[in-house]
């Protein structure tokens, strides 16, 4: 059936989890491009035939005309599928700038073609130049702020330490109110636990 491969590309993309990028399906993509070329030569030969028969292309409504129309609409359908595929991928790719920064990790960049990599670079640099015009980094504060301080219980003797805003004696079982950024390293090492209220 005409147009089925193009639809397949989109199904593949939409079956992925939101924001996840599947590897570019170059084989199917190229197949669809080939289909478009085949449809195009059908259109050429059918319209050519109409003209050879000395008929007016604008008014003729014979089998050849409708045949050509079907091929024409098949190209359009394929074009829409290919464009939607690339466009939606590009939207995911540009969103990566916010999530992973300006360098794409290897496991993501292998899923892109050359043009997509270039697009990512261009889009990132547009964003960076916007942020520098504003003198404001927009990649931080992505979610509403929470209290920067948390309540923690010390699980093992750490001793007196110089933290960013205080130097508490972090004795075992003592409870403190520390900056989240100061406490995080101790929590991940299992030396402290966060207390809920």
């Amino acid at each position: 059936m005409y147009g089925r491969r193009g639809t397949q590309l989109l199904k593949e993309l939409s079956s992925c989890e939101t924001g996840q990028l599947p590897a570019l399906n170059t084989d199917t993509f190229d197949e669809v491009i080939k289909e478009c070329k085949a449809h195009s030569s059908e259109v050429q030969s059918l319209t050519g035939k109409i003209q050879e028969e000395g008929l007016d292309l604008a008014t003729t409504r014979n089998a050849d005309y409708f045949g050509a129309a079907i091929h024409h609409y098949s190209i359009i359908r394929n074009k829409r599928c290919l464009m939607a595929y690339m466009y939606n991928r590009a939207e995911i790719i540009q969103s990566l700038r916010w999530k992973v920064g300006r360098i794409l990790p290897q496991e993501i960049s292998v899923k892109l073609n050359h043009s997509e990599e270039e697009y990512f670079k261009n889009h990132s640099s547009a964003l960076e130049s916007y942020m520098s015009d504003l003198e404001l980094d927009l990649t931080v504060d992505m979610v509403p702020p929470k209290d920067p301080y948390i309540k923690v219980r010390v699980l093992d003797d750490i001793g007196t330490l110089l933290l960013s805003d205080q130097s508490p004696n972090l004795a075992r079982h003592s409870i403190h109110f520390l900056k989240r950024t100061d406490a995080e390293q101790f929590i991940s090492q299992g030396l402290m636990e966060e207390l809920s209220d």
């Binding site: 939207e91 969103s95 979610v143 509403p144 301080y149 209220d197």
Partner: protein, 219 residues
């Protein structure tokens, strides 16, 4: 994308709705002395022990966490008031009682951070859960009334969190009816004839029109 949620499905995350709620004012009784705080969002204080003062919820919670104040639960959070609200909610089929726009988030913040300041904590918590359930059930059944193209839906007294939960479903439903029931979509001659017959008959047509705006206040 700009790294945020899909603009047409969920506009505001639960965290963003809570962020907005945290600006609501609440009364606290400090146990410390502190000079006035001249914030970008307004001036608060001065703070003196045992002297009640109004502050935004986020500030109240921050002071509470540090053991510097007692939070006074708002009036609507008393057992009496909530019992009345619950009864009234149960008495009506489609109407919603007036409660603060952010009652869900505010009560949750207080339960999480100031539970010892709430008299009859257990009762209050149960009442609010019941009220939420009744209201949500009503909201669900009133949405079932939408079965044709409508131009507006009235949601008087529906709260921020309730609204945010039904938003994706409601917007999609309204849009689908709007699109499918648009004049351009109707090519069927039978339907057209039926519509013309209706148009000729002034009475039922007006009746139908009035129903185009669904009013959840209908009692």
């Amino acid at each position: 994308m700009a790294g945020q949620s899909d603009p047409h499905i969920s506009l505001f995350s639960a965290a963003e709705i809570e962020f907005v709620a945290e600006d609501e004012l609440v009364e606290i009784v400090p146990n410390i002395s502190m000079e006035p705080l001249n914030f970008t969002c307004g001036d608060f204080g001065p703070f003196r022990p045992q002297m009640p003062t109004e502050v935004p919820m986020w500030l109240a919670v921050a002071l509470k966490k540090r053991g510097k104040c007692v939070i006074c639960p708002p009036q609507w959070m008393s057992v009496d008031k909530l019992t009345q609200v619950l009864e009234a909610e149960r008495d009506t089929e489609y109407a919603f009682e007036p409660l603060p726009f952010h009652y869900v988030e505010l009560s949750r913040l207080l339960f999480d951070h100031a539970h010892e300041d709430i008299p009859d904590l257990y009762m209050v918590r149960t009442l609010i859960e019941d009220i939420r359930d009744v209201r949500f059930h009503k909201l669900e059944s009133s949405l079932k009334l939408i079965n044709e193209r409508v131009n507006a839906v009235k949601l008087k007294n529906v709260s921020a969190m309730e609204m945010n939960i039904v938003r994706p479903f409601l917007v999609r439903t309204l849009q689908s009816f709007y699109k499918l029931d648009s004049p351009q979509m109707i090519h069927n001659p039978v339907t057209t004839a039926y519509r013309q017959a209706q148009a000729a008959d002034r009475g039922p047509r007006l009746e139908l029109r009035r129903r185009h705006m669904i009013d959840l206040l209908r009692r």
